[in-house]
Amino acid sequence: MNKSDGISQFFIRNAVPLVFLVVSAVAIPISQFSPSYLIQELLIRLSRNAFLVLSLLIPIMAGMGLNFGMVLGAMAGQIGLIFVCDWNIVGVQGLLLAAIISTPLAILFGFLCGIVLNKAQGREMVTSYILGFFMNGVYQLVVLYGFGSLVPIVSAKLLLSRGYGIRNVTNLDGMRRSLDELIPLNIAGIEIPVATFLLIGIFCLFVLWFRKTKLGQDMRATGQDMVVARSAGIRVMRTRIISIVISTVLACYGQIVFLQNVGTMNTYNSHEQAGVFAIAALLVGGATVSRASILNVFTGIILFHLVFIVSPMAGKYLLGDAQIGEYFRVFISYGIIALALVLHAWRRMNDKERARAQFRGAEGGAA
């Protein structure tokens, strides 16, 4: 491979992050935000989203693509939060308890999701996506009709006026930013959520460590070639289920961390957003359906949210309408996923072609 080829390969591989870099480089000056505001916002979003995005890594490793089913984990986290709110447990203790009670739920959801996805091999993504919608219905059924009637809920503040069902907005005031402000640090007027970042750091280490375990190795093997992995004696189906379970549990924690920062929970919408934005951010970071690293996660969140923050204001100053910027960011979140999926499918086809061409070339040489 010669040098210019290498450079063009670099550009092709990193096309998505580069485009975002250019877009934000253009849009930041137009938006007229101050650097300290931007840094503060980015830090907040980084601490909010990193966990959710990181939870996507493990299923990618296991070859199951982007886990659109992570919304199941988010749902589990929300159910935990509802309970904790109802019992009126506040602060970090509340978050911890929410995480503890939602863990078995998340494991159950992840297990179900894993079983369903094993039945839909080759179309995991679309299935996990629909599964997310389906479980959303179940979640609504339980939370909107079951809570307060079948599941005891004490606090009238949480319930709808009819006496059962959780209100559309759940207030998390007691837990609001309790993790972020656990270890306060303020540099030049910018608040840094140290504890959250510590947690994220620990989790990154976990992912790195996990890759080195036998299970991680099995997952990578399964992800690359299921048939070979199976013939080598790896329990492929089990490995796939475990990867989804881990992802779901982590997404559940991610959602709790996310919501403690936001401070309020849209009982019936928060989780829906979680999936799309996490996946879009990861893809913006240069990850593909089959390969993603921790670096992709952080570059992705920074670039994606940079564009996200500045686009409404940039749209306003540029076109005189903030609404356009709003829609623009909706477009990029969906567009980027579409683009990444297309590129992935396309590249896979091309690689196949190229492998065949190479084979042909070798044959020719031997002849």
Binding site: W87, N88, I89, V90, G91, V92, Q93, G94, L96, L97, I100, G174
Partner: protein, 124 residues
């Protein structure tokens, strides 16, 4: 399954249980009714205090005038309440502290300031 494994798992389960207990004990927030109304403690009539600052744990001081009933929150089981009696210039005349657990207060948890004030005096 080795003994070691059983021990480690058992230890973890205990840790988890401990963690849950800790969360519930130290993280639960209670609504406490504070009353600054006349009351009787051990046969002795306690008049309401004219103006006090009530400070639960390290929260912001709450100003209570004679006859006030206020709902405040307290996180955890054990609390230290401090009562600052104020004069007309909002200067602290006298400051008294009292420790109690939430279960001492009945349901709903109610704290009568003159009673607490009297009790803490008795302690001294």
């Amino acid at each position: 399954m080795s003994i070691k494994r059983v021990c480690i798992n058992l230890g973890l389960v205990l840790c988890l249980a401990g963690l849950i207990a800790w969360c519930v004990l130290t993280g639960k927030a209670y609504d406490i009714v504070l009353e600054n109304t006349p009351t009787t403690v051990a046969g002795a009539e306690q008049p309401a205090l004219e103006a006090v600052h009530v400070i639960i744990d390290k929260q912001e001081p709450v100003l209570m005038l004679e006859g006030d009933r206020i709902i405040s929150t307290a996180i955890g089981v054990k609390h230290k309440i401090r009562i600052d009696v104020l004069d007309e210039d909002d200067k602290v005349l006298e400051s008294r502290s009292h420790t109690y657990t939430i279960h001492d207060l009945g349901t709903p948890p109610t704290l009568n300031i003159p009673a607490v004030f009297a009790a803490s005096k008795a302690e001294k």
